[in-house]
Structures are given as C-alpha cells and as structure tokens.
Symmetry: D2
Subunit: 417 residues, 4 copies
C-alpha cells in the first residue's frame, strides 16, 4: 500500500478525524499534506454526505439530505515546487471502495447509493418528471454492482472520483462568486436555484480557525459545480490508469478530492447521483513547469483515460432533439435534447416491466454514454444515450415478439416532498 | 450487389436523373420506389450540395454555397404494409463512397470535403471564432482519410448516412412548422437565423407537379434539423452493421436518406460538416407492426450501432464548463460547455503547430467523441471531447519536453465573407 | 475503384482469362503486372478451387475436390525497384466478395462454403473424428454470414486473403523441396500425406510455356503450406486496414495472392476451410530498401492488423492439454492441446442441440480465437479456444437451468468416402 | 474485504502458517477450509517459490531455484454439497498483489520477477537459445509494471492466478501417474526431462501426517502441468471478473490455487515465467449439480473471461512455421511454429537496441497474444505472436527511417549454469 497521507477512520465523523478536510473551495485553506513531484501516496475519501445516507429501504434520508454539508473533500495536498502556471500531472493509480471493510453503515463499506433529490431540495436532471426523493442501494461484489431495488441488471463498476481539483487563487475565487451571483440575481427565488452562493452554515475549512475561518466561510465557493480548477466534473472515465493534467493557481497547487463513485452514467443525471461511496484513491503526482502556456491549458482538466474500463461491444441507443414535451422549439439546446433522449430510454425500458424511476436509476448508475451527436442543425440539437445491452440479464433489444417482461420487484423507495 | 432501386448517374445533376429525389420533407411527395419487408436493396446518394463544392484549394464555393438547395435526398421508398404506429427496422448493410469511381469532380469520387460556413451564411458551432468560410479536401485511400490541408493526421472512416428518416404526416408537418416559426418570431433578424422556415426557392419534391407542387413547396419542411422522424441526426455511429428503428407516420413509411459522411466527429461541429460525400447505401428493411406503442417509441430513432467501427484505445480528452469566454455564467448549458471543451482542444493542438482552423477541422472530421459528462452540478454543465491519439503521426500527449512541432503545410483555404 | 491490374471474369475458367495466374510457387513464373512503389491497385481473386464447389446441399463436390488444382492465385505482380533483401510493404486497403455480383454459381457471388475433406483426400484437423466429406453453404448479407446448414448463428465477416506472398528464389525453392521430401520420406504411404511434393498434373504457371513450363512444373512448390515467403498463412487478422511486410527474394518481389476468406476461425481447422470465396482485394505497395536486415526479418511476414475487425466483448473459452483421447501423454504438443480444446468446444455445443459436425463448422468459419496459453509446463501444453457468445441467437453460457435447445434443422451435407 | 478463509503472513514461511497448504495434487489432502455455494471469500496466495527469489540484480537464485518445492498452493477448500459430476462455478471477483504491503522481500510486495531457468534446471520455451539462468525484476505502480532490467516498456497488468484446480480422484491420479511415467520412460535421461514424476522430497501436503503423508508424498502428482482438473493452465485471461467452471472429481471439489501472475504473455514462454508474485484472490463459488454431463464437460476448465482486461488497439504481429532453424521440416508442429514466431519477434526487437534476452523477457511478461493461425496446411503449421505497440515508449513499427535506437541500460542479470 502506498503511504497513506490522508487517513479517515470509518468510525468517526469527518470533522473528528486526525486531519480535517474541507467542503468549500478557498485559497486560504492550509495544505495539510505535503508531497513531492514523483511521489506515490494514498488518500482516503469519505462519501459526500459524511454518512447521512443509510443502507435501508426508505428515501427519507435523501429527502432531508443536508445539502449545505457537501462535498466533504480530502486535502488540500501541496506539491513541492508547484507554482501558478504549471500543469499538475495526477495519475490515478487505483481507486475503490473502503479497503478491508465490506460491510458497515458507511457507503463504501460494500455498498453505495444512488439518490434523486426532491425538486424542492435541489432536484435533478429530470426533476419535472420525478419531483420526489428516491433512493436505490447497490451492493458491490468484486467489481460489480447489483441492487435489490432494481433487479435484472448487473454491471462492472467504472470507479472514479467525481471531484478532484486544485485550489483557486483569490482572483479566481472572486471571478467565480461574481459571475454566479449575477446568474442567481436573474431569478433569485427559483426552485431549484440557478446556482449556490457561498454558504457559511456547515462550512468546513480544514485547519482554518478564528477570524480567518469567519472571513473565508463567507466567501468560499460551493463545491457542486465544476470550474476552471477541475472540481466536480463527474467524468465517469476518470478511472484507474487515467492521467489528468490540472492547471495550478496557487503555490503548491493544493489538490483536493472526494465524491468517489463506484459507477456513473455520462451526465450523472440522477444528481445524487452516480453510485456514491467512500473509499481510497492512490495517486502519483508530477509537474510540467510552465505547462499551462506551453500546452495552451488555461483552465479545466485535460486527461488521458485508463485502458481497463469495462468493455461492452453491443449498445442500444436513443436519440432526442431540442423540442420540449409541450412541443416548444428550443434553439440548439443540447441539455434538452439529452433530457429527451434519456426520457426515450426510460419510456423504452418501462415496456419491459421496469417502473420509470427504476429506469431513471439505471441511467444514472450504469456506465451509459451520453453523446452530443448533432449541435449545428438549427434549430435542433441531437443528443444520444447509449445503454450497454450486456448489463441486463434479459434480451433488451427490440424484436417481433415484443419485450420480455421482467419482475420489477419491490421497486425504488420514494419519499414525497 | 443488391438490386439498385434508386440509381444516380454521377455525370448528371440531381434533377436530371431517372428518378428524382427531394430536398424537403412533405407527406405528399410520392414514393418512387416500393419494397417489401425482408428486402435488401441499394440506394445511391448524392452529396448534399449536388456537386457545388469542388476539389480545389479555394473556399469560394463554401462562401457561396446554395443553402436553399440542401439536402438532396434519395427516396421516398415505400415499404409494403407499413402503417402509422409501426416501427420500421432499417439495417445498414453497407455504406461507402461512389463505387468503382475513385476520381472525378463529384465528392464521393475518391475524395470528400469539410467546410465551415461564413457566419453570414449559416455559421457553425464556433462561428464567433471562425466567422469566414473555410474548406478542407480529404482524400480517401482504402478506408482512411488524409488531407493536403491538414497534414500529419490520418484516420479510418466511420462511414454513415448523416440523414435518414421516414416521411412526416400532415399533422406532424404542421407541428414542425408551427413550433419552428414561433422560435424564429422571437428574433426574426438574427444572423445566423434561429431556424429555417419553408423555402419554396430551389425546392425539389420528387415527382410532385403542378398545383400539388406549388402548395407543397410552400409548406414543406427544411431538412437541416433532426426531428421526430429521424432526419438529419448526424449520428456518427450509424455505421455499417447498424440496425435502426424508425417510427412510421404515413402509409408505406416513405423512407428517404442522404448526406453521406466518410467520417464525422460527435456534433459535426463544423456544420458543413463531417467529411461530405456521395456514395451508396445497402439496406435491409423489416417491420415491427404496432411497434411504436409496444416499445414506447413515439419519435426519434432507436438504434444498435454496428460492431466494426474503428478501434482506438488511447484518447486525450478536454473538458469545458458553461461559462463564456467573457466569464458570463450560464445555467447548465451543455451546448456552451461543449463549445468550451472544443475550444480547449483547439488551443491545445495549436501548440503543436496547427493553425486554429486546422484544429477545428480535425474535430469536425475525425471520429472524436463528445460527451455530456455532468449535467446536474448547478450552474455548470461539464462536457468533454475525446480525441483518439492514434490518428496523429506524432505523439500528441503532454510531456515534460513540450509539444512536438509539426509543419502545418499550406493550411486551410479561406474565403472572407 | 482503384485501377484493376488483374481482372477475372466470373463467367470464364481461371485458365481462360485475359491474364492467367498460377497455382504453384516458382521463381520463373513471369510477372504479368508491373506496379511502382506508392501505387494503389485492385486485383480480382478466384476462389481456390476455381468454381468446382457449388451452392447445393450435397458434399459430393468436396469428396471429389481436385486437390492438384489449388490454389489458383492472382499474380505475380512485380514492384519496380524491389530487390532481394528489401521489405515489401503491402497495405490491404479493402477486400471483399465479388463486387456487384451477389448471386451466381461462383463462390464469392453472395455466398461461400466451408468444407471438410475426407480423410482419404487430405483430411482436416479433426479428421479422426470427422473422416468423411462435409460442406456448409454460407449466405452473405451485408457484412454478415448465415447458413441454412447451421442455424441460430450469425457473425460479422473478418474478411481476409488466406494466401499472399512473394516469389521464392531458386535457392529458396530448392530448400523447400529438399526439406519437405525428407519429411515425406519418413512415411511415404501415410494417409493423409505428411506433405505434398511437386505435382506436374494440373499445374498452372501463368505465361510460362514450352520447355520452361515442363521443367518448372516438375519442381514448382505446392501452395498449401505457408513458408518463408508468407504464402498460405491463413491468418484471420489480415483484414482491411492491415499493413504487411514481406521479405523479397527475387527482383520485383513478384507478389501473388488468393484464397480469399469471408471469415475464418484461428487455425482454419476445417481445412477447406474458413468461408471460401472469390472476390477482390485493393492494395497499396511500397518498399523499405534493405529492410530485411535493418529490421531482422529473414522470413515470414510481419504485420499490423487493421482496426475495424468485428468487436465482441464476451467470450466463452475451452481449454485442452496434450493428452490424447486414449490417455496417451504427449510432450508439449500444442497441436494436440488445441485439438482437445476444440473437441471440448464441440462437446459443449452439442449439448445445445447442434450435431458435432455443425459445431465443428462453426469453429472453422466463425471468428474464434485459438491461443497458445501454456507451452512450458511439462509435459502438458495448454491451448484455449475462445468463442464469441454474440454470434449465437440464444444464450450459450452455462447456467443452472441447463442448455437451451436449438433446432439443428436440415444439418450438414455429408458424402461418405 | 470478504472473509479471509486462508490467511498467509508475509513474515513466515509457507510451512509455518496458521493453515498449511500443499505443493502436490493428491485426493487425500484434507480440506482445511469449508465454504458453501454462494459464499464470497478471500484467499491469500504465496509466490510459487515461497520467497526463494529475491529483488536484486543477480540471477543466482534462479539458477539454484528449488524446483522440488513448487508450487505452494492455498487450499484445499471444500464446497458444501459438491459431488463428482458437478461443475464448480468459480467467480474471480478480484485478484492482486499482497494488499497494504508494497515494499518488502517477498515477491508480491510491490514487485515481482520473471525468470528463465537454466537448461540443466528445467529450461524454457527457447532454452536452446537461452541456456543460462536469467532474472528480471518488475516494479508495480498502480496497475502497471516497469523494470530496471528492461527499460522503455510499461504495461498494464493482466493479473490472474496461473494455477487453480479441483482435487483429482484416486482413479484420476493413477491415470496421470501412469501416462506421465510412460512418457518419461521413452527417454529417461533427457535434459530437461520430458515430465516430472512424483517427488517425495520437499512435498507439502497440508495437514496430512504420519503414514498417510508417507504414502501420499510418493504418489502425489507434481503441480507443473495443467491436467483434467484445471491446474497450472497459465491462462493469462483468468482475470478479475472471470467465471470459471471446473469439473468436480471428489466430494467437496477441494479447490486449490496459487502461482499468481501480475502479467503474462500467451504461453508463459519464459517458464519462470509471467511476472511471479504472491497476493490475494477473492472468489465466489457456486455449483451446477450434474453439470459435467449436462454441458458435456468431462475435463479441463471452461471459462468466461472478465471484461476489464487492458485494451490495446494496435498490435505488431510476427509469424512462424514448423521448420527448424536448421531447415528441418516438421509436420504441423504448432509448438515449433510458435517458437519460430517468438524468435522472429526477438530478432525484430533487437534491431531497436534491446538484447535478445530483454526481448524474450518482454514476450514472457507483457500481455502478448499467441495464436494458432494455421493448423492444417501440411506440412507447415503457422503460429503468430501479437505485441501491443502501446507498451513501448518509442514507435516500434517498421518505417523507412529504420528503427529508433533505445538504450538497453544495465540489461538482464544472468547466471551461467
């Protein structure tokens, strides 16, 4: 095992650990770990709600999920010699659920969950169609996931960190806060909100204390959105073997990470989201000095995915265009066209006996691919969603005999908002 | 060779052929070909501009491209017994450039083109960055494409029809025209336009004549957007071996197709677009009676991609979020985040010596993948674009020695608007 | 279409064509076609028995197959500037059945065959188990093969030339004849024979005539075995997009080819063998001057397979060791261990309802993989054979409910020796 | 972590552990672990020489390797209800090096080795060309291996157990001993030997003691060869996610396993062999009652490989035929043709600067594929070996500029016999 530089004890809360991470982005959060270019090390990661979501058949915990508390991140980790303008190379050597613990109350101990927030509590990609809170528990066995709430489906995990990134500079943080507030101001009462402003409540800022803490928690950025520093990109292909290149904005780079997923479909459309878990990640870091200008990388991450992602050679795909269900024409709206493609996939899967929310959960958790197929054919964007047929234990392709009928079982727990 | 039911002579204009196709969608265009479920047949397809784009080193033809004339489609082909509510199974048995003709003045005769329209003439995905008209010629040798305008890159074609679909019913056509006009009305003077209303000029409606022709050409839908009938979906994975399921809206289904692409990246971001060519397509058709309700397919196409697409196991990926270059925050705008990911890829490739327009052309023509990676992390959508590293004849990955420098050669022809 | 340098008329016998190929290897066979490095050209190829095998439900033609007449090859093609010691680069740009002819009496006109010779007429890999003559007809539709003689299986063709090679020098030819006769002399009466000596009967030697013909036909090598020049390697991965490097032994290289296969499993275990057909092959040639010593290639072919082979992600595999069915232990005999692995696969498939010969035919024709898994664990070699599960229209994996039962239909035509 | 049913302490010898495994096959070795169908459990495995091979730059340990002591196996594990005639389903849920220990003196603690035995001590596949003892140390980082002894190559591990199998019955054991002794008797003095008879010296037989031990150690079968019970099959594709079906010959099945490999090429041609290591394996077991006759599986293993093996899309392949280097023609000898293919690959790699033994070591350790390409074209078998080009950090393909030259570094340690 590589040296563990950021340990987490599964029996303690995130704020009671030996090293305390953070759940906001701020340049003043001190690095608690120092590594050198070339180092290999392990980082423990807590599931994003710090254990608030449990392994049962109720969605009440999702309905009341403490949104102000997320995402609990491990770090910051300072890399010796890193300076603004460099590219930080991060090799994901390994990533997985909590090692040696395959049962227990914490997501990552042999199980994980996919949730859908109620519309009044954050919503999701298809919140108008699924306005309540829902939860599905997935059991891990070896590298595969199955669920008592969604029978007849099993898939190999495409394990990855949903969130990883470097610390923003003060300038960058100001930029974020400015532009996001401007968006919020266009419709401040919207449900769900357009964006999340700094939220002092429940802020965790590592070892920061006193006045520094008070000041920082009022300006620290929320971790939900991906931004110039990487962050919550939720890219399902950040798997074992991947090499990622992050821009560096502060001395030491100050890398943090968390929000591990056992599996996820492109888009993480269920929002709460993927198959959430805690676990570990083994990293190797290095630097390309001055790499941001050398390679023209001013922001966001560049990456080379690993080569051991699960292989599926047969897919069934669904397409959608940027027209609403009410027949309103939108202009090249790829977000909408992906929603329509996903809704088509859901309609299709329900003809096999699944409930709509079961189908939605499959799209959120399984390694589906979401593609921007046509983005220029005015006025209609065309998006497509690809399902691997091999994850179902029945023949999911259309045929002349009509769909096989599967028993949906106990179904998906729901909690009405 | 399967029986050729829709022949095209490469030496004649589209309107001088034995059978005359169409370039608008309208239910009254008579089927000119009749096939039965189970039949296998060949259809010739003309490149979408009917030969207006030539194999030279000027972009003048793109600048003056006759947009009212597109897309010239082969069909309609009526399938015996097809009725509204059925699913039409279409197997793409083979598809390729014009057989036995590998040199000549017509795209598809051993070559094809990728164009970018001037902003004043339709624009493209990145039109604010590339406002002029540009053209790249690609030469085909075996299954691979190379270009004198974009050196050091070669890729295996992922050949597919950009456009295929069934005829709309009168009701469906009215629905299209209504919603698209409503969108246009929100900003009628926009350049480029929000959508394209019916355009009687240059309309070709098969064998339709007289009053019927006059009436129909004023209401027939343009072929640019994909819609409920499939249409111009530009899905790069509609390759040989694919099985597609189309909803049927009129008796006979009245299938039409065209806009063949030798290769295309997800999004067809260059608009004019992919590697355009004429050629042939071999099809097998069958029916699932009543399949639309049986399988919950009310619109758009479902498909199972073929299993011989070119394999690349190493990719370099770029991400983008829904923030404009001017730092304006947009709300979950996946269109914008894909633009930003593509711009990042362009910035990156230029550090190797390519001009920006060369890099743009690679993204439009090569089999890149565009993914909707995160669509819920308010306010930022995250999109990613994946380039196969194996298409370059140099090492395109970042490293400590900095980028290899390639000679961009003569570059991309441009015509200023 | 590339320029066709070696045409064949499907209505004429191989010896009645405009250019006459050959069915023996000899350095004196004159090149009939001359190309230059960099050239792209098309070659027609006749199926290896020149039409002696027909599309019917009898195996009589296989029983009486004229073995002295094979393989009818197209060529030789001289490459300008090629000299002994060079490496000849051959790019397989495209390869397929006879274009524009998808029905007719000649294999390659929309159909092909797999045969097993009677033990008294050449036998096959499992001739002790299948001592008679058998034949299966496969129909091509698009890129896929199905057979009335082997139902419930369909696979994408992995089209390739079974035989391609450069001409031997006189020295090399002598070497071949010497060593092969020495082997024959160890058991001259063996049935089937250990090797095939030069056979003047039925020899075709291109344009060679008179005394030259008489002398050459008595010393020209048979085409069955692969040798230093490439030759009948039967490598299923010589598919479209492959680049092959052949050693050059005579001025001009004198490349010849034939024995096209629509599909084949590793080993071509049925001998007659793969799915045999005539068709076309498009080639590009180039030279690496002095490449044999530069790259240490003294013999046989090096190649880089194409990247569009059919993808199957799920396989069921069978293993065998080098022990005979009579429990005799052989020493690291990989030939035997592969036989045992194949017999295990046959035993397995028969539990689903196939006859043993149907199962054998699947292994010969479908894109199975044969691996040398262990070659050092004395005394037992271990070989494995991998079947893609996706070629069957039923679930071919073992399970608790026992095997699905398929209707074997009319079965495989047989002719008793 | 699944329950560990067979623990090994890295600080103790194999015979000093809490549970003592075995290094011979015998039906009387008592099961030390009992599991039920459906159980998931972990087994520790020791590297096959129990630590005799060390991490240094000398091959003396390989020269003097204690061959009588191998393979140290974990087990037997009895599965409740298993009876002769059943099929034992074994799912390989996970497999890897020793967890939490990535440095130390034991192979599997962050490193592994590939050896070649001296000809006088067992030899290897190419022992006539490499008659001495050689050793290469590989370092593991994440899922990849590199070596100070073979620079410029790095590959993703295709981790698997080289050896797993069920216990033989008394009848089956007698059958083995009889046929192997008969082979030995044909040339008893051969170096290396044709097979290995029972060897009482160094035998470890689990908890067996007293007279039972004395009797059993004189008749227990050596573990080197694969046999009807699976055993030392060295199949590189027994990776995570694989499902294997073993025949059951004794009550409880009595499954044992060991000889873990971090990576291996088809054939394990270096014999000592693959990248050897100790580690862990997580298994799930189940039964198909009576499955041997239901599925026609009388012996050897059937398996479905996992779907996360490393993906490489570009390969360079070498072919060989069954002619010796002295030009002696052998009859369809696939063992010889694979040797010739491997020698061709070695000749090729040496033109880039590698020493021959470095090239041999690459073929033994990297995930190369060995194929039985042609097994019927008398008298020449054709075998092929495929190298993934992506494992080299230089362009390994042939070109007009000649091979890149790599620095072979310190090279491979050798110990002369």
């Amino acid at each position: 095992m590589p040296q563990k530089v950021f340990p987490l004890d599964s029996n303690k809360k995130f704020t009671d650990q030996q090293l305390i991470g953070h759940n906001r982005w701020h340049p003043d959060i001190p690095a608690q770990v120092h590594v050198k270019p070339g180092d290999v090390f392990r980082v423990d990661c807590r599931e994003w709600f710090d254990g608030a979501i449990v392994n049962d058949d109720s969605a009440d915990d999702i309905l009341h999920a403490p949104l102000n508390s997320v995402h609990v991140l491990s770090g910051p980790i300072a890399v010796e010699g890193a300076q603004p303008g460099d590219l930080l190379i991060v090799d994901i050597l390994d990533v997985g659920p909590i090692p040696q613990e395959d049962s227990g109350p914490l997501a990552g101990q042999g199980w994980g969950y996919t949730g859908v927030f109620a519309k009044t509590n954050g919503g999701g990609f298809l919140t108008d169609h699924f306005p309540d809170a829902y939860k599905v528990i997935w059991d891990f066995r070896g590298g595969k996931a199955t669920s008592r709430h969604v029978p007849h489906v099993e898939f190999t995990g495409i394990v990855h960190p949903g969130l990883m990134g470097t610390a923003p500079s003060h300038d960058l943080l100001r930029k974020w806060n400015g532009r996001e507030q401007a968006l919020i101001d266009t419709d401040p009462q919207r449900v769900p909100p357009l964006a999340l402003p700094p939220q002092p409540d429940s802020a965790i800022l590592g070892s920061l204390t006193g006045d520094d803490f008070e000041r920082a928690r009022n300006e620290a950025a929320r971790t939900a959105p991906p931004r110039e520093n990487g962050g919550n990109q939720d890219i399902k292909n950040f798997t074992k073997g991947s090499r990622v290149f992050y821009p560096v904005f502060v001395d030491g780079a100050n890398l943090s990470m968390g929000d591990l997923h056992f599996s996820q479909g492109d888009g993480e459309i269920t929002f709460c989201g993927a198959i959430e878990m805690g676990g570990f990640i083994d990293l190797h870091v290095d630097l390309i000095k001055g790499g941001m200008s050398t390679y023209g990388v001013s922001e966001n991450a560049i990456f080379i995915p690993g080569n051991t992602d699960p292989q599926y050679s047969e897919w069934i795909a669904f397409s959608g265009t940027s027209v609403t269900l009410d027949n309103e024409q939108r202009y090249l709206d790829s977000h909408l066209s992906y929603q329509r493609a996903c809704l088509h996939a859901i309609d299709y899967l329900t003809t096999f006996g699944y409930t709509p929310i079961q189908a939605y959960m499959i799209l959120g958790a399984a390694p589906i691919e979401g593609r921007l197929s046509g983005v220029v054919d005015i006025p209609n964007s065309c998006s497509t969603v690809y399902l691997p047929t091999g994850i179902f234990d029945f023949d999911v392709k259309p045929g002349k005999d009509g769909p096989a009928r599967v028993d949906p079982g106990m179904g998906v727990p729901v909690a009405r908002a």
